[in-house]
Amino acid sequence: MTMTRPTTSSPPTGTPPRAVPVRRRARGRLRRFRGLVGVVVAFAIWALVSRTGLVSANDLPTIPAVAQAFGTSWSPILAGLGTTVEGLFLGLAIAAVAGAVLGVLVGLSLWADAATDILVRMMRPMPSLALIPIAILVAGLGTEMTAGLVAFAAFWPVFINTRYAANSVDPRYVDTARSLGFSQWELVRRVVLPSVAPGFGTGLRISAGVAIVATISVELVAGTGGLGGFVLSAEQGGATAQLYAGLIVGGVLGWLLNLVLSTLTRRLMPWQAAVEKRGEN
């Protein structure tokens, strides 16, 4: 779980780590599986509610019915998933590159930072999804439209977080590096970029969530297929079990994407471990 706004981290207040007894460690490992309890309880409630007929089967199908829906329509689900993932990654990649480059450039210059300040504050809360009708108007219904819109929506978190990180590089590091005789390029590569990377990572993770929402929104509004298209046709055909199956696949996709990105950030940027730790639970 992440803090979505860059905040100043407070210095660690806890005691220095002590040797942990073996038994405690084993219990710590067990604690990881506590999360499953909630999932099991949720499934139990689902089974109970759908069995007792508290909610009509049309609103909440039984678990076997949804499992069956997976069985009968796995091929359209997979095809839809493929389309969704394609548009998602294309857009996210464009957003990541553009956001990182522009974020560093703008963040490093106080002038550019000031000049884009109000613009960014206008664009940040801008619901990019409102641009879907315009994107359809301008670019038609192809993959370019999806990728372009996803890129636009996902650009802002990367850009804002990178810009912020570049803007708040610790001046002491810069001074130290300079007194060590670093050239301008070395300074950027060895001081600025490592300091900016964690901010970029945070931005990218937020962007991934934004990108999924944008991709599926486009699919729903423009009817360009994908997972959104699958769910929409399930709704229109009154196949609620299929609808739930699509929903679960979407949840797993989002969950996996978040998991991969947060693991990657942790692996690739170990120097951010202290900050990351805070967000973990």
């Binding site: 909630g38 619901p127 709704e235």
Partner: protein
């Protein structure tokens, strides 16, 4: 916020009070000018000029669309936001305070918040039908997470000494939540609320496009399908302005009521 003093890497801004906003608005002006020039140069019917769009904004805001579409949207967004705020704070604090409960629910919460909101729209239409209720439900399903997660995170990081002291002084239950936990986590909660506010507006649009017969989302969609191009752009501009207005009001309120918080009192322009 740290500012690099070294002048070789960054040229400093003049140290005057109004320099920053002036440069900021100059940036906005440049983009507007670029839009105007590009539109004139391209001269296509699908990309109206900045001035045409602004005129359309004026017409929309002075016409019946104001009360039929703009205000209902604002109402739905705020209603969804309010529900999300209460729900997110209560559930987030509870899950954060009762550690074991939080551990039990962590995976479930992680999964639920990963569900892409727009996928909920078809489900919400099945369950609630078309209209305001469905739209508000969709807003809540998206806007509750930033509040809940921030409250959860902050509740787990509350200084244990504070909690122990409060308990030793006999505070428990609701009083403990209200007088210790809530104030201690408020800065984080507010950060979450700000994200939730912009999320509300973003998600509102998609819900209105897909399943409402009024509201800004409906207006934009309708204008696009009837090829009223300037109106389509005007709808988006109004929406962007609303987002900006919400955010600005929020920041002003935060600044006014949360001045005691160090992080808030400092630079908060991101």
């Amino acid at each position: 916020m740290a500012v690099l003093r070294s002048t070789t890497i960054r040229r400093p801004l003049p140290q005057r009070r109004f320099v920053r906003p002036v440069i900021g608005w100059a940036g906005v002006l440049v983009v507007a000018l670029g839009w105007q020039l590009l539109a004139v140069a391209l001269n296509t019917s699908i990309f109206p000029t900045f001035i045409t769009t602004m005129q359309a904004v004026g017409t929309v805001l002075s016409g019946p669309a104001l009360s039929q579409d703009v205000l209902p949207s604002v109402e739905r967004a705020l209603a969804g936001f309010a529900i999300s705020a209460v729900l997110g704070v209560v559930v987030g604090l509870a899950l954060g305070y009762y550690r074991r409960l939080g551990d039990y629910c962590a995976t479930l919460v992680d999964f639920l918040r990963s569900l892409p909101t727009p996928l909920f729209v078809p489900l919400a239409i099945v369950l609630l039908g078309l209209g305001s209720q469905m739209v508000v439900a969709i807003v809540v399903s998206a806007a509750v997470w930033p509040v809940l997660l921030n409250a959860f995170d902050a509740a787990r990081r509350v200084e244990p000494l504070h909690l122990d002291t409060a308990r030793a002084l006999g505070l428990r239950g609701v009083a403990l939540f209200r007088r210790v936990l809530f104030p201690a986590t408020l800065p984080s909660i507010v950060a979450g609320l700000r994200i939730a506010l912009s999320t509300s507006l973003a998600v509102l649009i998609i819900a209105e496009i897909l399943g409402a017969s009024s509201g800004l989302g409906y207006f934009i969609q309708d204008a696009q399908q009837t090829f009223e191009v300037p109106e389509t752009y005007a709808g988006v501009v109004i929406l962007a302005a609303l987002g900006w207005l919400f955010d600005t009001l929020f920041l002003a309120a935060e600044h006014r009521w949360l001045r005691w918080d160090q992080a808030t009192a400092g630079g908060n322009r991101v």
